[in-house]
Symmetry: C2
Subunit: 722 residues, 2 copies
């Protein structure tokens, strides 16, 4: 398995080992010994004979046994030479702690490139540089120097040492969970996010992957890997650095493409990644998702011992898209039997004092509610855990009994329970018991609601998995040879855009139903082309030197006679000459006039992190003023194309607003998919704009199509990002 | 002061006093004794001689001394008789614990009405019924039975006993704060939210009011009071029961007017109330706002000891509308002097290890940053409080030194500091010290960011206080006599709506620039009116029996000759007869055709909680499909009218989109204000619709105006809500 020798290393050389307790070269060895690493430890430092009782080597090549990885604790400038030594020794990987590389700008970047070149030459994989390190808690291989990290089933992958510390501290103080691995990716100079994700995805002991990300180098590969991993285990991610100040703080170099954070969120979600916006929810999300089965049908019951919490929870779950179904007759009858008359037994269920002298009734209620076939999961909110604290100690024993019973219910029944308890921070034993059974307990009502909603969210993803694009980014080769000819001709003429008729030809090659214009170089040709069209026509100038055709008087509409066409041709030529004396004028194209309908816009561009993205929106003010658009990373599936069409706010207009006929959404969907195919087929394309596209009751018309090609410069920029 | 004898009672009779430890009649006396209430306690129960060592009275009238309030712990059905006894004794108030009143529906409602009638007759003010009780923690007057409630400077006003328990528990476990008063408003049968708010507003020991609300009976009076109170102290409120399930859970009877929760939030915010959406933030908001001065200019600095927290905080504060300004040159130079080379000193400031061996440097940094005139407040995020835990005990003393210094800084400097600490839940002494100085500390980064943003939010409210409507709801009398005549004529004819020309007349009376139609009863009259109009005219039918004029063929447009007008008149009459043989046809109105322009809609209606509200939006799909509208509770100020116009998403269209001329926003604003005045002047109006209103480069045209009057039935419904 890739990375196995690195992350499951049987032996570690600590290069820059030290006797000074404040140095990482000391702390790392000290921690490995204290935590009882089950592999071999080799301190390397030419100035020492032994460190912490271990023999110290002058050079890694002095070690007789094989060495799997090196922890490099020496300064940045020494790293290339150290790696050359490591390479001769045949290590599989190195953890580079030092900062002073790419994050410092051009000079650091050069050093980073040099380091990576040495590593590649010797086949060494690098973690970092500029990282807090790595831990394999199954092997007690702790290269971070932080002791007593709880062991468990979550893999932690972050781009910030103090976020790792935050999450580890939270696990320790507020849960019974812990970690299989931790990796601080640092500058991601060699091993990228997706490679770690693949490894954690295959690790049988890891039940969820928890990520904090500021920026990603290989977004597309990550999406592809995430799509595979999330099918088997949840991946939870918080992405920061959205705001410009946040970016300044993160030192991120991602392009500031407007709406990009929307694109990123959408892309992650489509790949099944659970995207968290609120850092309070990050660890709880991983706790819940690694402990409980997903909810398949979105229907949740609330069990409360008071109205306020029930009301707030009902509001929140509704906002989070969950259903709070009415309970069945039988369920309500059975609840009525064990609860006082004033109890409320629709959903939410409010026990209304029914548990005051016996909180074990919570378990009875939970059993009855979870037996209801309308209910897929249960959220318990309120005071559970505090009856023994607030009232009498004996009630605590009843709470513990209830905890055992609910724990067994969850283990057997496959319907999850999540708890909110006001008394969580007082750490009553009953709540610890719930956690022992994998039932998470939160003192925040908001977090508890969010967590149960994520089980439903992940359940929805899993149940519609096959409807999604599989995020395999292989360029399609189908229509490519003929399309390439068009693109190459433009490129050979030094053009960075296709003419409108070339762009339409390219679309037609991929099966798009578009009127294929031909170039008319004389008035006679224009008239001849117009004759072949039914109804009036439009003439548009074709010139590489005239981009905004209307401004140059290069567009004439609604021409319905030979005479009109001939005159329009002459006028356009004259206008163009007047507009730009030296313009290279190729002729005009003749198009049929398009019937009225609903205007939409489709566009694509290349994003620095995720590659090609597509945008769809309604024409005119809806896009330009109201920004009512949908974005997706390409390629898109039929499912995703439908979702894009439905998710814009003005979507009802497509169904025939105010007596107008409904638009042909099927044709629109097909067009979006064809655009996806086209952009996949030609990596040479930088941007495509179909604007406007007119939707009819049957079919769509592409009125104008513009395709920009990558210039050498922009090609370089992309290569740099990759 | 109103309510003083009730909330600051010198003596309490406990009616339904008991020796049974499980009864509220026992717990209340036990708690009053245990907490050392400084007034007199009189148990009342005809079956007992003494309870808990206090002499017990058979009837409240057997008590020789005066009694300020009664705690009524007897069942619902006994309450009217108990109150009659209390009335004879001359008590000022009663706390009614029992449920079984209005919340149970019609029968309970009758009992509640009976109870309130007895109370009013005797001048007794009621807290509840269906309440957990009341506490005055300054006097140790604790009528709830919950012991050890922390004392402090926050007044707590809730509609849910378990939310009160949540907030009190949070105060105890996570802060050094506490409460002056607690009131559970219960069914709000007599004393309403605004009366408690007025009392807390005047209480010199209360520095903030913390509220949990599910539904309000007197929304308008609350807004009016809130506007006065929030000028002097912050009022923090969470309103639940938004979703339909939440409403079901809350048992709320508020009308389900679409967008109502938006109206409520907007109205509260305009009255200066800090509206909290997330229950995790509710207590922290009160803690921060009661402890620290507001931020006046919205500019905040972030001080961090690691990149991840700084980045997340920068994102969050930006989302929350705060500025994170670059620090001044001098500030940066001084920070550079005390921090290591790798530290980042724009804003956020990342000490980058500079505090590892001396966390007291946080105080130095804070001092330098707060001295910067570009900075109005400081958020410190990260590990502070944990240096002594994670590294060496001696570092804890340095943290404590820093806490003292920052505490004194805040006390002197009037610039607030808020802390996030990863180690908050480990309760290090340094963080307790910060809280002692009024510097709040949160273990949630999100909550810390939200809290500092609320200081800025409240500061903005205070600095623009006079620009807001003062929420005084006195009906204006100016144009009323003549307007009344129009309304009364319609009412006397049994109509529940005004004719279009009557509605326009009413608008004109209030100074709205509208074409005043006259009723033409013959074709000759119609022609004569048309002569007086410049350009073509429109004719519209006037009949109380024809509401949808176009559907009945009752509208003819673009008539530009006498002949056309005459024929249109005859056609309209014939169409109307055909449409409804028995229709009462009054004639037609003649209007000038309105020039094209941008269509908007203005509407008003009566909301069950807040009275008259106004809606403004762009005509057509923007309102109907995209719901792009702004709502406000009336009356509105010029400031608010401008905000309504600016806040709709399609607002840029008013500024002249795509080469069209800009619309007359001044005239639109004036029209909104006139609508506000008109609706204030005539409480008889149920709904008004100006649809469409056409905006021109100069002026606006009201094409159609519809005014519905309150029917007797709807008048009753409103009385019921009041």
């Amino acid at each position: 398995m890739p990375l196995q020798r690195v992350l499951d290393a049987d032996s570690v050389a600590v290069i820059g080992a030290s006797k000074n307790e404040t140095k990482r070269g000391f702390q790392a060895i000290d921690t490995l010994l204290a935590e009882k690493y089950d592999g071999k430890i080799y301190p390397v430092n030419p100035k020492e004979k032994s460190i912490l009782g271990l023999p110290c080597y002058a050079n890694i090549n002095d070690i007789a046994e094989p060495v799997d990885i090196a922890l490099v604790a020496t300064p940045a400038r020494t790293v290339p030479a150290v790696l050359a030594d490591c390479g001769r020794k045949g290590v599989a990987g190195a953890v580079i702690l030092a900062g002073g590389f790419g994050e410092l700008g051009a000079a650091g970047r050069r050093l980073e490139d040099e380091m990576v070149a040495v590593a590649r030459e010797h086949g060494i994989r690098l973690i970092g540089p500029n990282t807090s390190g790595m831990m394999n808690l199954k092997r007690n291989l702790n290269l971070v120097g932080l002791k007593n990290v709880p062991r468990g089933d979550i893999a932690l992958l972050t781009q910030s040492g103090n976020m790792a510390l935050t999450l580890i501290t939270e696990a320790k103080l507020k849960s019974r969970k812990g970690f299989t691995y931790y990796v601080g990716v640092g500058n991601e100079a060699d091993i990228h996010f997706h490679e770690y994700l693949e490894f954690f995805g295959r690790d049988p002991d890891t039940r969820a992957v928890l990520m904090y990300v500021e920026g990603m180098r290989e977004g597309r590969q990550f999406l592809q890997q995430a799509y595979r991993t999330t099918k088997n285990k949840p991946v939870i991610l918080l992405k920061s650095g959205r705001s410009s100040t946040g970016k300044r703080s993160a030192g991120s170099h991602t392009g500031a493409l407007a709406g990009m954070s929307e694109v990123a969120r959408g892309a992650f979600q489509r790949a099944g990644v659970i995207v968290i916006e609120n850092s309070d929810e990050l660890f709880p999300a991983a706790e819940t998702l690694s402990s409980l089965p997903p909810i398949r049908h979105n229907r949740v019951a609330i069990l409360a011992d008071g109205g306020g919490h029930a009301t707030i929870a009902a509001d929140l779950l509704t906002d989070l898209g969950l259903e709070i179904p009415q309970l069945g007759d039988k369920t309500r009858r059975r609840l009525k039997e064990i609860l006082p008359a004033q109890a409320s037994v629709p959903n939410p269920v409010d026990v209304a004092g029914g548990t005051d002298d016996n909180p074990a009734i919570f378990a009875e209620c939970a059993k009855i509610i979870l037996a209801d076939s309308n209910v897929d999961g249960l959220l318990v909110v309120g005071l559970f855990g505090g009856y023994g604290i607030r009232f009498a100690k004996s009630l605590a024993f009843m709470e513990e009994d209830a905890a055992h019973r609910m724990g067994r219910m969850v283990a057997k029944g496959r319907k999850p329970i999540v708890f909110h308890s006001l008394y969580s921070s007082e750490k009553p034993h009953s709540l610890d018991l719930l956690r022992y059974y994998g039932i998470p307990v939160y003192d925040s009502l908001d977090v508890a609601c969010k967590c149960i909603s994520l089980l439903a969210h992940y359940g929805r993803f899993l149940s519609s998995y096959h409807a999604k694009t599989n995020f395999v980014f292989n360029w399609r080769e189908k229509a490519r040879p003929r399309g390439e000819a068009i693109i190459h001709r433009a490129a050979s003429e030094g053009r960075t855009s296709l003419f409108e008729h070339e762009a339409k030809k390219l679309l037609a090659l991929h099966g798009v139903d578009v009127f294929e214009n031909q170039l008319a170089t004389t008035a006679d040709e224009a008239v001849a082309f117009a004759e072949r069209v039914e109804g009036p026509v439009a003439l548009k100038i074709v010139s590489p030197d005239i981009l905004h055709k209307s401004d140059a008087g290069g567009v004439m509409l609604n021409l319905s006679s030979q005479k009109a066409v001939r005159r329009a041709f002459d006028d356009i030529m004259a206008n163009a000459r007047r507009f730009n004396k030296t313009a290279d004028i190729r002729g005009v194209i003749v198009s049929p006039m398009v019937e009225a309908g609903i205007e939409v816009i489709i566009g694509t561009k290349i994003d620095g992190q995720f590659g090609p993205v597509i945008m769809f929106g309604m024409g005119g003010i809806l896009v330009e003023v109201l920004k009512d658009v949908a974005f997706r990373v390409l390629p898109i599936s039929p499912f995703t194309a439908s979702r894009m069409i439905e998710e814009i706010r003005s979507a009802p207009l497509l169904d025939g607003y105010r007596g107008q006929p409904a638009s042909d959404k099927k044709a629109l969907k097909k067009l979006l998919l064809k655009c996806s195919e086209l952009i996949e087929s030609y990596p040479e394309i930088e941007e495509m704009d179909l604007n406007p596209v007119i939707l009819h009751p049957q079919g769509v018309s592409i009125v104008d199509a513009r395709i920009l090609l990558k210039s050498q410069r922009s090609g370089d920029a992309n290569a740099g990002d990759a």
